[in-house]
Subunit: 729 residues, 2 copies
């Protein structure tokens, strides 16, 4: 058989050679914990600063700290430092707590302000030797300190005059895995679930340990293992034993397991006829279930609950309130120290009011009626993880209820794994927003870190983008969102650019010629997505169901507020959702200062324009251009940004291994195509309504509107089994 | 927070250290193509025998051959040989065809009997130098020769007097992937599908190349990409473009793509109102679809079809025969050289006759009525991939129809990925079986290799056990079944033990202290499973639906022949399925010599006893023991075998890297538990009917029958989304 030569993949043999054999493949598996050799000017001072590791690893966590130190220093410095029980030379790394380490006890460090999870790093002298101390009040603080110390080396920071303390400003720093027990992941774009339930508890995949290390390295301290659209099966003894095995692996790393609890579990696996939260048998069932869980997992974190939302069961099925439901579960967990994270993401099939208003309407009357160990988990915006949303009005409205921030790492609405979108700027934008709840300066950040309302519980949760793909997150750059989630949850005051720079240095290279352009590319990446998908405050314009690609024309979904047209309200005259007093009056859910701004066409920030206002096509924007022209310009700018990202990346091949270089390049090419598709399809649709010509210099869509509307994508990942060949939408 | 020390996983830190960093992790990713350094006595002669690589790599396939040679020799010998265009020294490896290589042309080798895929390996002299020639008539033969040459090094064979020729005895050597477009795999136990449909064609995962290399290394030359329970979406242009991208990656390795075709696709994606194979519009639709496919994929292999079986659409929906359906597709493919592989695995909802008889009843009348490019793909036995089945009666009954053998690598019925079961002995048992179709010596092997009936087409297909797990197959030892499938399809006369030894040497170690016990363990592993699951001819005794664990009591499945009791027919008096003339008379479907043997209680091999006979509990077996005692003894022997495997493995830690050692050890521990569960549950059930005491020295089941019946396993992998909390079965 003569082989037909058709586009022989030229990279094929390069990939073959570099993916194999001699050198370690740069496949992303080791995340930002690569610990590749330090070169150049930094090697000598780092070697001098880390000659030995000194401390008693008398707990699993300190053992993990010590193992990480020796592993990392061995990799970074090319020589594994000796582990000693006392300081024998200059350059000792002394780690521990005042309890575990006599050296640290002797220093009488002021550790009063760093709590249980914080750490202190200090260059000092001990028994006549230069040492670096990594200290905490508790073992976990030491582990966190070790990772911070290693980060300094990984990012080439000077070690000579170390003197820093850090403690987390948020208590619950969680990943929410939307993983199903069959291995599928709702809205997952990085392969199957990393939890191999079938082989648990008999087999503990080494990957679980890498996951726990990665989480601990950025301060993540909890993992909700299963989808919020939960199966009651997760609460069966069979699965609790498997969960307990994971908890055992995670425990040394300070990572606690949580479960999404299905509200109707007492019926489905408990044999009861009701799940009414006021029914004594139901309450007893949950108490017994909590007791059972804590017998297996003494440090179990608690339950995450999606109730009475998108078809999930909940207390309203029995005429009870969300507070009744949450409090019942909280009561069961309270004796064990667990919490309930009750999701505020609800909107009703019956309710015809603006979907953006419904969570506020539902929950504000309940403020103050939740038990102490309940947190309300609120998405950053009132719709659903859009590329840009104004902050959720609940953040300024629940003064007596601890509010957790929920963000989404998996890019359900931002182009899936192949699109580059560094999300920390989005989160920072939310955290920077001023609710005016207690007057000016009442930022979401202060709500979330508890300082505004004096909350007893605080938390930030990110819907995980993690799967069994070798690089964990489906793309190399999506790892940055996992990294940033942890860093920003630890300290919501960190700048997203600074986090990006840390990550780039640890993950790719410390070469300034690489770091600066890549950080810039990352920092612009989310705005690029906003521009080519949903500029100027547009939202929820994606295709139906799978959410892949544009669908501004979607108007026949089974419920009104699943339609794109519900949100864009575009017609011959204009576009946008009037949420002022003349419309749904969603602005009234904000504090008066905010409501006045968002309610005013002139004062609304243009990035939120069409979120709050229905605006005629010829409306003059700040630039002096008409809204129509500005819209086209934004879409096009989004495409141009991605073209620019491709160009930036193509100039950086010399600084990256070929394996990662080629994957990122391929993904950016895909993203550029998809950006153009979004732009062209959106313009084609809106032009069919506005009947306006494109502004000078902007090319027409490549295809007709009919072409875009007819595109059909069965079996796009992330839908969790809901697939259809019916492509009318 | 004080960390609670609960069973700190001791292997955790070992895994952390060895899984990371310095040395390459032995995670199984490189399969049997590891190319680790040769040590000891073999290094010097191998280095002398392979000093340079000489040949013109003027095609993609020869480029692949050359790349593999340099990669492998570099790894094995520690120094990458130079690639030269002429022979410059002793030890040149001269590869190519008489067309590509002047050196090979000059040798005037007799390549007349090796066809297009065969190869010749010879030590000889050329231009005054000692050389090794790797020659083929065609480029692909050269590539296969390269892999054989490397296998000799990998298994430490002498190279001094090489003189071998080999050509495949079977034309189609295929993997059938039961992969769905959403990434799930029906009966898959190794993670998600390796086909990342969402990212294709824009991104070509380097893994596709490793897959193609691995297939080529054992002679596999085709890959059916999607599940036989197919979605019509695979035939949409969207997916054909993605398939074409995979075909481009595979092409240099001689690996052709095939698709499972959904019979009703003309309705579902073609807009027709019928899929009647005699309807001209339907025929035209398939012809156009075939033309479209071949425009994208000029070497497309053809269609695999599951029709009118287990709910799949097919020609009988329109009152047409299987031949009508197959011939319509064959007609569409014929102009392009494609084939139809029509599955004989059918049994009817309506049909009440013994399920084991139905395929024969259906297909024998059609013998001779299929088009030339149709093969009938027949499972090794008449039920469904059981640990042991007598050979399928169709193998002796279709003299005018090419018959392909279908085996299953994924261990749907053999304990999933964690159970060790080397399957080549099972396949060899089938191939060795004598159909007597043309008198004594009419083995299944001769049917399959075409020599018995003079078939124009031949093929062996294995249902793949491959997924996105890092080790590809869910366990290290399951790789051996992928390896063996290719080797045995190339030459169905190979001994399964010899194949196992090759694989062990290439994959683990050439140390005789390791090779001998591991090969012995592998060779006994399938019989162990037979014994603890389905001894003495029992079959189809697993749990309903997911097929995980024992379920001999299953009697309420939605159709009779999905029940275990349908197959075991156990009652107070005896056990077994009477398939003699007094029963279903399935024996009559075999040639008279075979029918006489299987039909006789005395002459039936005891391993098939309960397949063909209903036998009283007190029946005297060959050992002199009663059937009941013998049954208990077999179950127990299965458990003991696994215990022995664990013991064997635990003595081999010194010869294996800790990463693979610990995974295999963990899996064997799981298998031992599951073997005991199978034994105990089966004995508990059958004892509830036989009311007989256990023979002396055999312990009672650990739990009651009620306990085993109540065990419930929701979300076991491999069911493809059909999950339920209903555990009554």
């Amino acid at each position: 058989m003569q082989v037909i030569l058709r586009r022989i993949p030229l990279l094929l043999f390069a990939a073959l050679l570099c993916g194999h054999g001699r050198a370690r493949a740069e496949d992303g598996y080791h995340l930002w914990l690569r610990y590749r050799p330090v070169q150049g000017q930094w090697l000598a001072p780092y070697r001098a600063a880390a000659t030995e590791v000194s401390g008693a690893a008398d707990s699993a966590t300190l053992l993990a700290a010590q193992a990480e130190l020796t592993l990392a220093l061995g990799g970074l410095l090319g020589t594994t430092p000796a582990v000693t029980d006392r300081i024998t030379q200059d350059g000792a790394i002394v780690f521990g707590t005042p309890r575990s380490s006599a050296s640290i006890a002797r220093l009488r460090l002021d550790l009063g302000d760093i709590g249980t999870d914080g750490y202190l790093l200090r260059s000092t002298s001990l028994v006549g030797h230069r040492v670096i101390v990594i200290a905490g009040n508790d073992d976990l603080g030491v582990l966190y300190g070790v990772f911070q110390f290693l980060r300094l080396l990984q990012t080439r920071q000077p070690l000579a005059h170390l003197d820093m303390k850090s403690a987390p400003r948020v208590q619950l720093r969680l990943l929410d895995h939307w993983d199903n027990l069959d291995g599928s992941i709702e809205r997952g774009y990085a392969g199957a679930s990393i939890w191999d339930w079938q082989k648990l508890p008999g087999y503990l995949d080494p990957r679980y340990t890498v996951y726990a290390r990665a989480c601990a390295s950025v301060g993540i301290n909890g993992s909700v293992l299963n989808d919020v659209n939960a199966s009651a099966a997760s609460l069966l003894p069979l699965y609790l034993r498997k969960t307990a095995a994971l908890a055992n692996v995670f425990r040394p790393y300070g990572l606690r397991v949580f479960l999404s609890a299905r509200f109707s579990a007492p019926i489905e696996i408990g044999g009861l006829s009701t799940a009414d939260p006021l029914d004594p048998a139901v309450r007893a069932w949950w108490r017994a279930k909590a007791d059972e869980i804590y017998r297996l997992i003494p440090d179990f974190g608690g339950f995450l609950v999606k109730a009475n939302s998108e078809g999930q069961p909940g207390p309203q099925d029995y005429g009870r309130s969300h507070a009744d439901g949450a409090n019942m579960l909280a009561e069961a967990l309270a004796p064990h120290g667990g919490v309930v994270m009750w999701r505020a993401f609800i909107y009703s099939q019956q309710q015809t009011d603006d979907r953006a208003k419904q969570a506020y309407t539902e929950f504000t009357p309940l403020d103050g009626s939740f038990r102490d160990n309940v947190l309300l988990q609120v998405k950053y915006g009132a719709i659903d993880f859009q590329p840009r949303e104004p902050f959720h009005p609940l953040f300024g409205a629940m003064l007596h209820t601890p509010l957790m921030l929920e963000v989404q790492l998996t890019k359900e609405y931002l182009g899936f794994a192949t699109a580059m979108a560094y999300l920390a700027p989005l989160w920072q934008e939310t955290l920077d927003s001023d609710t005016y709840a207690q007057g000016q300066g009442s930022t979401v950040r202060k709500v979330i870190d508890g300082s505004l309302y004096g909350s007893a519980h605080t938390g930030i949760a990110g819907v995980a983008n993690i799967g069994a793909d070798r690089n964990w997150t489906g793309s190399h750059f999506d790892q940055a969102n996992w990294y940033a989630l942890g860093r920003m949850a630890w300290d919501p005051g960190l700048e997203s650019a600074a986090i990006a720079e840390e990550w780039v240095r640890m993950t790719f290279s410390n070469d300034a010629h690489f770091v600066a352009p890549v950080v810039a590319m990352m920092m612009g990446s989310r705005e690029a997505v906003v521009n080519y998908m949903t500029p100027l405050g547009l939202h929820h314009q994606m295709a139906y169901g799978h959410h892949y690609g544009p669908g501004p024309w979607v108007n026949d979904a089974p419920r009104a507020d699943w339609n794109s047209t519900y949100f864009n309200r575009a017609d011959a005259h204009g576009i946008g959702f009037d949420r002022t007093a003349t419309g749904s009056n969603a602005v009234s859910q904000y504090a008066p200062e905010v409501a006045a701004r968002f309610g005013s066409l002139d004062r609304t920030p243009e990035k939120y324009l069409l979120w709050f206002h229905h605006v005629p096509w010829d409306y003059r924007t700040a630039s002096g251009r008409s809204l129509w022209d500005e819209l086209v310009r934004h879409y096009s700018q989004g495409v141009d940004s991605v073209t620019g990202m491709r160009k930036t990346w193509s100039g950086l091949a010399a600084y990256v291994d070929p394996e990662r270089y080629s994957q990122v390049a391929a993904f950016l090419a895909i993203q550029e195509q998809e950006a153009k598709w979004w732009r062209d399809a959106s313009i084609a649709y809106f032009q069919s309504l506005s009947n306006l010509p494109l502004p000078e210099g902007f090319g027409p869509p490549e295809h007709s509107l009919q072409y875009y509307e007819a595109l059909c994508f069965p079996f796009v990942p992330g839908e969790g089994g809901k697939h259809s060949l019916d492509c009318k939408r």
